[in-house]
Symmetry: C2
Subunit: 360 residues, 2 copies
DNA sequence: TTGAAAGCGATACCAT
DNA sequence: ATGGTATCGCTTTCAA
């Protein structure tokens, strides 16, 4: 217990530096001496250099901090987030770097953000954190390298921003909504994750331009763009906030759209997970997706294919991997540090032409 | 740049202690002074106490190290591992504790284990790491609290073991194999994850008692127990190693069982992920699961239900949560620190009575 | 190849 | 309520 570099050095009869070298620079001393030192260390129960002391001195930790969604454990329910994390892990493990998953307090209260403040990391990767979260300010203030991958504008303001990897959210959303509009839908509901806040699920009365959370905001604006372009009356468009990116919440949100007199004929969600919930809500009410009500998602998680969900496919693992690479090996060329990845419209069975009978 | 506690203290005209208190013990100084200090700190661009220095001094990091599978990024492909991690995250986020995901070198080579050695954490949670991995020795030597949750014997030897959370692997496997044997199957193949090593997929000639990796070993031994009890000749049982817990690898392993003259009538795998691969292999060969060949998994991941896989259900999220709780709030009662969770045999469509025609 | 000395940046205890 | 002081454990020049 309590063995330290000093203890070992004393026992062996060498200086601290030498013991330190035995661990961190094997080439700086004779193999025999090193062996002797390591043996003594083992006998003394010296656990090796103290990680905190070591990183304090070296100024490096070999870990990157990950803010995965405003709600860490919830993130693991979203296959897309998991895939992103997998990509990040791939990049990290290739470089012997650990990933520090930092939990955010559910309320984002000042004092509760210690975990972000005290995170011993060399850089941060931020994924799906609403831009108004205080955690971002802290990260910004710490001045470490950051890869956001969402709002180019916001991450552009982070002092340590090293790059960006994302997609053209709005354009992709536009294509999806254009597809829906082309099928004749005019009464539409849009379900957005955190478009207003992170606590209440239900209809909101906000102009799309005001939505703050970048990802959902852009997607909703993309939907709006396309609907307006198709001549849809915005008064016929219901906007619903989802307090969590969760299937159950998606179902709840859909309820607000379905259980009203002038039921909409299409429901567009800002994620597949929410859309799966929407499908659940339809099932409960005996409505057929693609016939009675058209439904779309966003991400193209594996389950989307399984249930025939029309959606936008975006890279997941790759996106995480690139984020990690940007952080760990920032390319010299600034151009190469701004990556906009391609997306694809995937039309499946949950969207179909407007059905005159059930919409009347 | 480079602002430190000292800098701030000098500017404000107070001592370091006071500045430190302003951050870590707000109640130790007047609100006005604190406000003044924080303001100056902000102006100076002082990012807050240096995490490494802080944890060096306090002897605490507020992070727990996670060894998730021998292959971190691969772990994210396994829904069971992800669920476990979710539970762990739930426990951690409730206690403002971060999770340090530590990558293991693929070869488990000495030098490459720095990440484990240098991990700044207060404790370790080890999940699905083969017992012969050097990483475990290092963890053991560091003497930090550990929750293994797999091999009670091995974790029992870890100096810092604080508890155990797992299932009765062997008993569960026995029930599963008994079900298969009761259906009349006598020529059986067992596919085990890492039962010999982590590099080659294919038949192995090892006695079940010799298998080293605890989890798979116990499951295989459980299978064996039940088969022998049912009068199966062990000479008719093929043992196949899977180099990775991966669907593709499962399919590959199944190939070794299916593409031989005396094709087996049942294939038992040590995980659902592998079993899904087995089903793929059957499909490719035009064989019907539950009719031509019976197939079983282990874990009961969501996809198992979707494809009708017969399997053993074991708690996932809960298991991770308990592991986290054991680490973060070890119960005083030693009894309460040894948790064996219940499992259930879930019979679905992939197992059926032996089919005389195709087995002849 | 090895050792001596100087921090890295912060916190805790004890006074005041 | 604040300040002084010792110390946490290690790495890193630089000199021998």
């Amino acid at each position: 217990m309590g063995a330290t570099l000093q203890t070992v050095a004393d026992q062996v009869g060498v200086s601290r530096s030498t013991v330190s070298n035995a661990y961190s620079r094997p080439d700086q001393l004779s193999p025999e001496l090193r062996a002797r030192i390591l043996a003594v260390a083992e006998r003394l129960g010296y656990p090796g250099p103290n990680p905190s002391a070591r990183s304090l001195r070296r100024g490096k930790v070999d870990a990157i901090g990950v803010l995965l969604t405003a709600n860490l454990s919830m993130a693991f329910r979203d296959p897309y987030a998991v895939a992103y994390l997998r990509g990040l892990a791939e990049a990290a493990e290739q470089r012997k770097t650990s990933l520090l998953l930092i939990p955010l307090p559910h309320n984002d209260q000042e004092g509760a953000l210690d975990a972000v403040r005290n995170a011993a990391v060399d850089a941060f990767c931020v994924y799906c954190v609403p831009d108004w979260f205080k955690a971002l300010e802290i990260i910004n203030f710490r001045g470490l390298p950051v890869v956001g991958g969402e709002d180019p504008a916001i991450t552009g303001q982070l002092s340590g921003e090293v790059g960006f990897v994302g997609i053209d959210e709005r354009k992709a959303a536009r294509r999806l909504a254009a597809h829906v509009a082309a099928l004749g839908h005019r009464r539409v509901a849009l379900i957005g994750h955190w478009i207003t806040d992170t606590s209440v699920t239900g209809p909101v009365d906000v102009h799309p331009d005001e939505l703050r959370y970048y990802v959902s905001g852009e997607r909703v604006r993309g939907f709006r763009d396309a609907l307006v372009a198709a001549g849809v009356d915005l008064a016929d468009v219901v906007l619903i906030n989802a307090a969590e990116n969760d299937r159950l919440v998606g179902a709840e949100a859909a309820g607000h759209a379905l259980d009203r007199q002038d039921r909409c004929t299409a429901i567009l969600s800002t994620s597949d997970v929410l859309a799966l919930g929407v499908l659940d809500a339809l099932a409960v009410r005996g409505l057929r997706p693609g016939r009675d009500v058209s439904v779309t998602g966003f991400d193209d998680i594996p389950e989307a294919a399984a249930v025939g969900l029309t959606t936008i496919r975006q890279p997941s693992v790759e996106r995480g991997r690139i984020a990690g690479e940007l952080l760990l090996d920032p390319p010299a060329d600034p151009q190469a540090r701004h990556r906009v990845l391609p997306t694809t419209l995937v039309v499946r069975a949950t969207t179909g032409p407007i059905n005159q009978e059930s919409s009347s």
